[in-house]
Structure formats: C-alpha cells, structure tokens
C-alpha cells in the first residue's frame, strides 16, 4: 500500500491533473465570446485592465467591498495557502536555507522557514475552519452548498491538520533532506521508498494527491475560471465620439429656432 501511494500513485496523480486541467481549459477555449458583455465603467487602457486583475487577485477587492465577513476568512486563507504551497516547493528544494539568499545565516534561515511554515499552516487551518463554519451556520451559504462543497473543505482541513500536526509534534516531524531525496527520485522516474515509516506523512501524501486529482473536476478550477471570466468582462472599450453632424448651436440660437416671431410667451 505504501509502495502504491509513494511510488506509483504520484505518476497517476500528475497525469490526471495535467490531462484534466488541459481538458477543462480546452473546453473553455472551444466556446466563444459571442457578445460584448464588458462591464462598465470601461477601462480605457490595458494598464487599467491589469489593475482590475491585480486588485481582485491580490486583495480580493470585490469580496472586501461586498462581503466583508467572507473576506476575513477567504483572503487570509488564500494568502496562507499560496505561501504553504510555495513553502513546500522552496523549503524542500533549498532545505530551508532559502533565506540565506536574503542575507540570513543558515540557522536563522531554517528557523524562519519553520516559523513561517507553522504560522501560515495555522492561519490556513483557521481560515478553512471558519469557511466550514460559514457553510454550516449561515443560511445563505448553506442554501447554496452541495455535499461536495463540504467534502472539499473537509479534505483540505484533513490535509492541513495532518501537516500542522507533523510540524508541531516533533516525534512525527519530517526533515527536509529525506523528503527532498524522495521527490528527487520521483522526478528522475526511479522512485525510492519513503524514508521513514511515518504514517502521518503517508496519509498526508495520499490525501494531497487525491486533492490534486480532484482539482480539475471541481470548483477549485476557479483559479483559472477567474481569468477566463475577467478576460471576457474587463476589457478596453472606447466610446464613439459625441457631437452631431451639421449642427451649429450658436447659429441656431442666433436664428432663434423654436421661437416663432408670432409668439409673445416669455418662458426664460
């Protein structure tokens, strides 16, 4: 079983993920932008368009403006998630010494790497629990939820909880070096067995792979969908020039159009 999860499944996961995402994106690309449904006020330059993308991606501005309680959970959750994902890549690749490049000592770098991992891991878990709470407790959110919406959150919460547990309980912790070695062998298509028989690590690895395989077939596609939708709705639109043909207002007023000479009514 461990053999399957650690040495075979990863290849299946990557294949399903890549093919799944390509399939979905291909389906989106095959349909067209039929009508001009740009949202106004219309951006006048590409820079303004980029501004809209950035404020929505980096700050979740719409969520902030139109549903503050959601923002309180969703924004920190996403920031933590991105850092956790980034941390997995960078941390294992540099064995926690990434901050050396920013001028820290090796010991400090490892310490920082650990600290940030723990902090973001906890924010992520708190954020997810809060989102789950909303889904269960708030009527309007419960009313829009399908079973899969809860399951998705539970899956994420399990992965993150186990990750945090391994961080916080040293007996079950994982060191950077063996994990890096394991992933290196995976990438070289000569998968080695998982070094330490840590059941939590195996479950963490299994659940994470399930998540990655589900992603292309779930609402997590929103990370691409958002670009697709904004590409349709936020674009440059230039208004046609106003001003009417053969109209000379000054001349018309001098002629007194509309004012019959017979009329004595004073309306002004």
């Amino acid at each position: 079983m461990t053999y399957f999860i650690a040495q075979i499944l990863p290849y299946i996961t990557v294949t399903v993920f890549v093919l799944g995402v390509v399939y979905r994106l291909w389906r989106w690309a095959a349909s067209r932008i039929v009508h001009n449904i740009t949202l106004s006020p219309f951006p006048q330059t590409k820079t303004e368009v980029a501004g809209i993308y950035l404020r929505e991606i980096l700050l979740f501005r719409n969520v902030f403006n139109f549903d503050r309680p959601l923002w309180v959970g969703a924004w920190p959750m996403h920031i933590a998630l991105l850092n956790v994902i980034g941390g997995h890549v960078v941390g294992f690749y540099f064995l926690g010494k990434q901050f050396v490049y920013l001028g820290a000592s090796e010991a400090l770098s490892k310490y920082l790497s650990n600290l940030l991992g723990t902090v973001f891991g906890i924010i992520l878990l708190a954020g997810l629990l809060y989102l789950l709470y909303r889904r269960i407790a708030i009527d309007k959110v419960r009313q829009v939820s399908n079973p899969s919406d809860y399951l998705m959150l539970l899956l994420l919460i399990s992965i993150v909880s186990i990750g945090n547990f391994m961080r916080l309980v040293p007996e079950y912790g994982m060191h950077y070096e063996p994990v890096k070695e394991y992933f290196t062998t995976l990438i070289l298509f000569q998968p080695a067995a998982i070094p330490e028989g840590n059941p939590f690590f195996i479950i963490h690895l299994l659940l994470a792979q399930i998540l990655i395989m589900i992603l292309p077939f779930s609402k997590l596609m929103h990370l691409f969908g958002m670009f697709g939708m904004r590409w349709i709705e936020n674009r440059v639109y230039k208004e046609p020039a106003p001003g009417l043909p053969n109209v000379d207002v000054a001349a018309a007023r001098a002629r007194g159009t509309g004012l019959s000479s017979a009329s004595s009514t004073d309306v002004a």
Binding site: W28, S31, F42, M226, R230, P242, V247
Partner: protein, 460 residues
C-alpha cells in the same frame, strides 16, 4: 394565474401566440430531450455560460447583493442558485464528475418540474448584472438567465407579455404596435403640448429623407413618458439639428435581448439598418431605454454582419457633450424640486453612462441628491428585463423586488415634502417605478432625464 406546484410564474403565451413568433411549441413528452439538446448547443457556443457553470465556488457572496433575494428571501433567487437550476443539469449531462458522482456533486436528471422551475426563476431575474459586478470572479448569472430563457423560448415557453411584444415588433417595428398614423398623430399632439407649456415651436419630422440625424425613441414614450419625447424634440430644435424619427423602427428597446437573442433581436437590428439606409442619415441617436441601449450599443456591432456605416450614440452622451462645451443654456433653478437619480443597471454596468448622466442632471437640477449605493454599485428597480407582469401574484413580487430601491429613495429624503422627483431614465425603470412609488408611498414623481433637460432649457 397559472399555478404549478406552488411556483410563482407569469401567464404563458398560448401555442397560437408562440406560432406568431415562429415557434412551434415542443410537446411535453419531448421537452426534456429537446431541452438537453438546446443546452448542449448553447454550452458549446457561450464561454461566459460555461465559466458560470464550471467555476463558481459557492461562496454565497452574491446572495445579499441581489435585490430579488433581498426582497423575497427565496433561496432560488440567490444568483448562484438561480444558475444552479441549470448547473445541476449541465453537470449531469456534460461533465465527468456529474455523470460519475451524481447528487454528491449536485448533478440531477432533467424533468418537467425543473423546466417549470426554470420558467419561474429565470423570469424572476432582472438581468441587472449586479451579481457579475460583485462576484470575485465576475461570474455573470445574467448570462445564465438569458440562455435559460432562450432555451425556454425554443421549447415554446415564453410569458404572454414577451411573446406579444415579440409579435408587435415583427408587425410594426416597435413594442407597443404603433402604426405610422398613430405615431404622427401623437407627435403633432406633443408639439401642441410643448407650445402650451413651454411656448416654443417644436416639430417632430417623421421619416424625413435626407435628415442628418435619426433619433430612435422608446415606443413607450408615446404613451407613458411624453415628457421624454418632448425633451428630445426640444433639444434637437434648440441646437438646430436636421433630424427625424423613423416610423419603421420607432423603438429604442429590443425585447429580443430578453427572451430570444437570436431571431427576434436580429430582426429589429436589420430593421434599423434598413431605415438608416433609406433615410440617408449620417448618425443615429438613441433614446432612453436601458436594456435597449445595451442591445444596440453592445450587441448590434457583433450581430450586424458588416462594419456599421453609422455611428450610434446615446442622447445623454450628446446632451452631455453640448453641456461640457457650454453650448446649451440651462437654468437649474427653473424646476425648484429636489431630485434623485436611479441609475438604470444597463446604463451603468453595461454601457458606461454613469458620469454622463451626472453631467446632465447637475446642469439641469439645482437640488440633486445622490442615492446610495449608486453608479455601477446601484440596485435594480425590480422591473429589469421587462418582468412587468400584472398577474396579481407577479405584481406582488414586483413590489418585493423594488423594496431595496424604495429604501434607497427614502434615504435621500427627496420625497419628504411630497414634491420630489425620481429621475429614472429608462423605459422599463419608468414602467416599473410609476406604480412602485405609489405602492411604497415615496412622495416622488418619476421622470426621465431628457424630460429635465427639456424643462431646463433657456431659449432666449
């Protein structure tokens, strides 16, 4: 009032009425099969629809940002749930996860009950696009509504109101079935009204060949909003324009946008191009109509099948241009009443008219008060997409849909002394708000924006 398992719905067009708009209603035992086939066609075409189907995270943000949910608290009026009525079918037939996991991921077989639900809830959507504006990703439930209505139309399920307007469009080129003699008559009458009230001579040239400008008013202005037409006539006369109103397409609206974006919408597009060609005009200027302006400004260029020869602008843009260049003399103190502005959703979220309207209203009105939220954040009046149904139950819904608007108007205080004006420069907004300001006892009178321009013009 048709009743179907407790669903609220407007009266449906009869089979005969459907045939008048070229649709042979699909018999009940084939409806499900045909609906799936039409859905398949639409999802392959419209990316906006596919993305709405596939990338919603069910965050619930859109709920309290839709006035139909705020007014009714009906869960199916939450934008994402309105879309879910189709999404669950889409999942079941067109996605792997839906086929494999069914109910777990919210996938469901289509049946006649669900089609009736579509009819009920897609005609409870005002197509105002506030949901698209607020969604973190910009998911546009209005697109889903439009596609839902298109499929229903092909199945032969359209409200009587929309079908009869569709038939009138084909017969006369306008929504209210006005014939040329009626048009000319009304305009002559309005000339007299202008003379009596404002003391100026305004002529409304109809079908004048060789005119420079073709002005396309809303046909509702002839019956319900005379001051809007009078204001436009006074504006064109004031600036000395060589203008005309076409009798073959006396319609700023286009109900095609609302229930049949293919045949019906294109039909009136073609009429417009023929009229402009025949009269030899140089520019087309559009009257006050929210959904109509969206259709003609944003949809026409893509559906005309040729590069347009004539620039088309909105009359607000033109008036604002002459105000900015100091060519109009307007007296904002003439009116002497407090005014607030309801931003028609189509103007502010689809056509970019928010600032233009303010340029105009500030020049015409001394006591102008903003309502909040406004501009692109504005809430719909509750009449959008012409769900102006009079069946008693639907009328009750209209009152609920306009609740948010009523709160906003009240907060401005313009109606405190009973002499306020609610400027709502869109034919459908006007039709909705005339009765609604009474229902909510707002102490305001509903007017268009060009009405106010006409009243403020200084002629000498």
């Amino acid at each position: 009032m048709p009743e179907y398992k407790g669903l609220k719905m407007p009266a449906k067009a009869s089979a005969e009425e459907m045939r008048q708009i070229h649709i042979e209603p699909v018999p009940d035992d084939q409806k499900v099969e045909m609906a799936i086939q039409y859905l398949d066609e639409m999802r392959k075409k419209f990316r906006s629809f596919v993305l709405a189907m596939e990338s919603c995270v069910k965050c619930g943000l859109c709920a309290e940002n839709c006035h139909t949910y705020l007014g009714t608290r009906d869960p199916n009026n939450i934008p994402t749930n309105r879309a879910e009525l189709i999404r669950k079918i889409y999942r079941r037939y067109f996605t792997l996860e839906g086929r494999w996991f069914g109910k777990l991921v919210g996938a469901e077989d289509l049946n006649l009950d669900i089609i009736e639900q579509w009819y009920s809830y897609f005609y409870q959507c005002n197509e105002c696009r506030r949901c698209a504006h607020v969604c973190p990703f910009g998911i546009d439930t209005c697109e889903v509504t439009m596609i839902g209505r298109q499929i229903l139309h092909w199945l032969g399920i359209v409200p009587k109101l929309h079908a009869s307007v569709g038939a009138a469009m084909e017969r006369t080129g306008n929504h209210t079935g006005l014939t040329k003699p009626a048009i000319v008559d009304t305009l002559e009458f309005l000339s007299e009204e202008i003379k009596d009230e404002f003391g100026v001579d305004v002529e409304f040239p109809v079908d004048k060949e060789g005119a420079d400008i073709m002005y396309v008013p809303s046909s509702a202005d002839f019956l319900l909003n005379p001051y809007t037409l009078m204001g436009a006539g006074m504006f064109f006369t004031y600036i000395g324009a060589n203008w005309t109103i076409p009798s073959t397409i006396t319609e700023a609206g286009n109900f095609g946008l609302l229930f049949d974006q293919q045949h019906t919408m294109r039909h009136n597009f073609t009429r417009l191009l023929h009229a402009a060609q025949k009269l030899g005009v140089k520019k087309i200027v559009w009257g006050e109509c929210g959904h109509g302006w969206r259709a003609w400004k944003m949809y026409l260029p893509g559906m005309a099948d040729l590069p347009l020869r004539w620039p088309i602008t909105h009359i607000h843009d033109e008036v604002a241009y002459y105000i900015r260049t100091n060519q109009l003399k307007l007296d904002p103190y003439k009116l002497g009443r407090p005014v607030t502005l309801h931003d028609p959703c189509n103007y502010v979220r689809a056509c970019g008219l928010a600032e233009t309207m303010r340029t105009v209203i500030r020049a015409c009105v001394a006591d102008f008060r903003e309502m909040y939220p406004n501009k692109e954040n504005n809430f719909c009046c509750g009449g959008g997409s012409a769900i102006l149904f009079d069946d008693p139950e639907m009328y009750q819904l209209r009152i609920k849909f306009s609740q948010k608007k009523a709160e906003q108007v009240r907060a401005t205080g313009v109606g405190k002394d009973g002499n306020g004006i609610l400027c709502a420069p869109c034919s459908i907004c006007k039709a909705q708000l005339y009765p609604m300001v009474e229902e909510h006892e707002l102490g305001v009178e509903v007017k268009g924006l060009i009405d106010l321009v006409g009243m403020a013009l200084v002629w000498k």
